[in-house]
């Protein structure tokens, strides 16, 4: 019975046969990406404190292995929908760090032209179809993208698929349920990924979900679920590859739960006083970035010097990103009504506040 027996990540990997040795180059590449996200997020935090960035700003600190593993599994032709906690995904999906930072700065060169900010990264070309700020808001459109793919033509190993990311807290909202049911009943090529960082703002999973083993929630839709160690970039990547393959070939949705740990507060302004000292210490102990660095050094793929070189290199990338963002122009108020509509129509309102209503 598909709904009852939890599938372990090992099983999935065996079935799909993806577990193989990675080349040093690949592993080092993963580290570079993780290090870049780490450096970028730390700088974003700093830039926020210096009031270069406004609004809400949610970081991927602590989730780097998950981010990199998931993004590596995607083909360029696949579609990605994610949450407001989206900087890392934008970077790992190949968006230019400068343009991502420029979006945070609200500049015209930002990936969303400064309209979206931190929560709303978008890149049509790279098929990153958005960070979304409403909890669960991305899930129904992601299902719709998978529906579009299914209408485009028959299944096959070369076809497109959709990956839809969400947090643990998001599994409790109605759109999660409606969307997984639609994906199940319509047999859509979509992989749902729950990034379980154990908290939705300050609420632990156990206080929010009557079934806290979230990968089991697919059972209500006959969607197989798997839980993986989100701190293990390879395990995450392999689970995602297997799930995507199933989505492409069988047109069946899949669910992955990546166990992760949020290193800081919910957003940059949250001091997370509600977290115990132990909890914070444990998060730090499990920090995937130094751990992976360590692992590569132990395996002999990197020496300390090479690792440090990477860390410095990504720091420079982030320096450049900040510089690019800083040098970019602010949008002009004249552009306020740009993209108000995709199709122009008569009488579309274009008044500025307080302007006289012109009617004759």
């Amino acid at each position: 019975m598909p709904s009852s027996a939890p599938v372990t990540s090992a099983e999935v990997n065996q079935v799909a046969g993806h577990r193989h040795e990675e080349s040093a180059e690949t592993l080092i590449g993963f580290y570079r990406e993780m290090a870049l996200i780490r450096a970028f997020e730390l700088r974003a935090s700093e830039m926020y404190a210096r009031a270069r960035i406004g609004g809400y700003c949610h970081l991927n600190l602590g989730e780097e292995a998950t981010v990199v593993g998931l993004m590596d599994a995607l083909q360029p032709s696949d579609y990605l929908f994610t949450t407001y906690r989206d900087h890392g995904y934008a970077l790992a999906r190949g968006m230019e760090p400068g343009k991502v930072m420029a979006e945070l700065f609200g500049k015209t060169t930002g990936v969303s032209r400064g309209r979206g900010g931190s929560m709303h990264m978008f890149d049509a070309e790279r098929r990153m179809l958005g960070g979304y700020g409403i909890v669960g808001g991305q899930i129904p459109p992601a299902v719709g993208a998978a529906l579009a793919i299914s209408m485009d033509g028959p299944a096959g190993a070369e076809t497109e698929a959709v990956m839809c990311l969400m947090g643990d807290g998001t599994t409790n909202i109605g759109s999660f349920h409606e969307s997984l049911n639609l994906a199940g009943v319509w047999n859509l090529p979509i992989v749902f990924v729950i990034i379980n960082n154990r908290l939705g703002m300050g609420t632990p999973v156990e206080a929010a979900s009557a079934e806290p083993e979230l990968y089991k929630r697919g059972s209500a839709y006959r969607i197989p679920g798997v839980r993986v160690d989100g701190n293990d970039v390879i395990e995450v990547r392999d689970a995602a590859l297997a799930a995507l393959e199933q989505a492409r070939i069988e047109r069946r949705p899949a669910l992955i739960e990546a166990m992760s740990y949020r290193l800081r507060g919910h957003s940059v302004v949250d001091p997370a006083r509600y977290r115990s000292v132990d909890d914070t210490a444990e998060a730090k102990a499990q920090d995937p970035v130094p751990a992976f660095r360590e692992r590569l050094i132990e395996a002999g793929h990197l020496d300390a010097q090479a690792a440090t070189a990477i860390d410095q290199e990504v720091d420079l990338v982030v320096d450049d990103a900040v510089k690019f963002a800083e040098d970019s122009p602010d949008p002009s108020p004249d552009e306020l009504f740009d993209n108000a509509y995709a199709t122009d129509v008569a009488n579309a309102p274009r008044s500025l506040p307080g302007e006289r209503l012109v009617v004759s």
């Binding site: 209408m151 759109s175 639609l182 309102p349």
Partner: protein, 366 residues
């Protein structure tokens, strides 16, 4: 208490509740010459237009509850499943948020979904997807994506469906930048505005009305789309302007006929588009007549009529002989019992009384 005029029932489809139809007064279609036009119901005009557009563009597909096997709660999609198959006429589970959002995602990938939500009351379930997603995606992502989606839904009371199934909530959508909202009052407009809505690259709320589906009028052949954002003077007049939309236009035309017999000439402006709102056409009419009544099925306070009244008072200030009169529904959850429903909903008598009072207040003389 006011007395209410009896309503004459038209034959209703088996799938429609109650036997309380509306008298069909003359419609716009009767007033405008239309070559190559066939007389048909509003329902038929919608059905034909959906078919026509699905043939023209294979990116157009229909999605909603009970639109396929059941042929639609109000039979607007009758026959289309048989013709186009279950992929292009997609029945959904009861999950308005889910399938409306799915339509948004499909639209982002280049499809042109026409979503049916059974009645406007149930759009509340999908409203986060409509307002926080469909309406925002184009602008918020810097123009990189668009959502060419039509959301068809009927509003309106008068069928004894009680408080939760009789609402007119279009003013909510009309308030939202990023959305377009149209509300045809005649079969011809149902076609022309649906063509426009489907071909538009933005999300368009397409407002129907339970009481209009069986109304008839000529519908031109061909495929000329209306221009979204333009109102129409559907009856010319010199003494009073009545502004309305959707079903209200029929009532306005009926009242205009009544007054004609008395030598009062009423102009009727049909908004057709609630967003954008064609302020110019509204005010131009009032500048001609000097008197304005706005009429709607919705509750009065903060309704569509509030904006219309404000627009007229601001845009035609010097031309008004008396304040704009608003005729709208009593502000209660609509009761089931027929006498209460009739008392709460505005009708031709209410509108006529307001017009008469306005004429008196302004010492109208023929």
């Amino acid at each position: 208490m006011t007395s209410r005029s009896g309503t004459v029932a038209e034959p209703v489809e088996a799938s429609e509740p109650g036997a309380h139809g509306y008298r069909r007064p003359l419609t716009r279609a009767d007033h405008v010459a239309m070559p190559n036009a066939q007389v048909m119901t509003y329902r038929q005009a919608l059905n034909d237009t959906l078919r026509q557009e699905m043939i023209r563009d294979d990116k157009v597909f229909l999605i909603g509850e009970e639109i396929g096997v059941f042929e639609g709660s109000y039979k607007i999609t009758a026959g289309l499943l048989a013709e186009f198959g279950p992929e292009r006429v997609r029945d959904t589970p009861i999950a308005e948020e889910g399938f409306t959002g799915a339509a948004i995602g499909a639209a982002m990938l280049g499809y042109r979904p026409v979503v049916e939500i059974m009645t406007i009351n149930f759009t509340l379930k999908a409203i986060d997807q409509i307002v926080n997603h469909a309406a925002k995606i184009h602008s918020m992502f810097g123009g990189q994506s668009s959502v060419p989606l039509v959301l068809r839904t009927p509003g309106g009371g008068g069928q004894q469906l009680a408080a939760t199934h009789s609402q007119n909530l279009e003013v909510w959508y009309a308030h939202i930048p990023g959305l377009k909202v149209v509300a045809p009052s005649s079969p011809a407009d149902a076609k022309a505005l649906l063509l426009a809505a489907i071909r538009d690259n933005d999300p368009v709320i397409f407002l129907e009305n339970l009481a209009l589906y069986n109304t008839k009028g000529p519908v031109p052949d061909g495929d000329e789309a209306a221009e979204i954002g333009r109102a129409a003077v559907v009856r010319a007049g010199t003494d009073v302007t009545i502004v309305s939309y959707s079903r209200g236009v029929l009532t306005a035309l009926e009242v205009a006929e009544r007054f004609e017999a008395e030598g009062v000439s009423i102009e009727v402006v049909d908004l057709r588009s609630l967003r954008p709102l064609d302020r110019r056409s509204i005010c131009a009419s009032v500048m001609r007549t000097g008197r304005a009544v706005v009429f709607e099925d919705d509750w009065l306070t903060y309704g569509i009529g509030a904006e219309l009244s404000a627009t007229i008072a601001e845009g035609a200030f010097d031309y008004l002989d008396a304040p704009v009169r608003r005729v709208a529904a009593a502000e209660v959850p609509l009761p089931y019992a027929k006498p209460l429903e009739l008392a709460a909903m505005p009708d031709a008598d209410d509108l006529a009384r307001a017009v008469r009072e306005l004429l008196q207040d302004t010492r109208f003389r023929k």
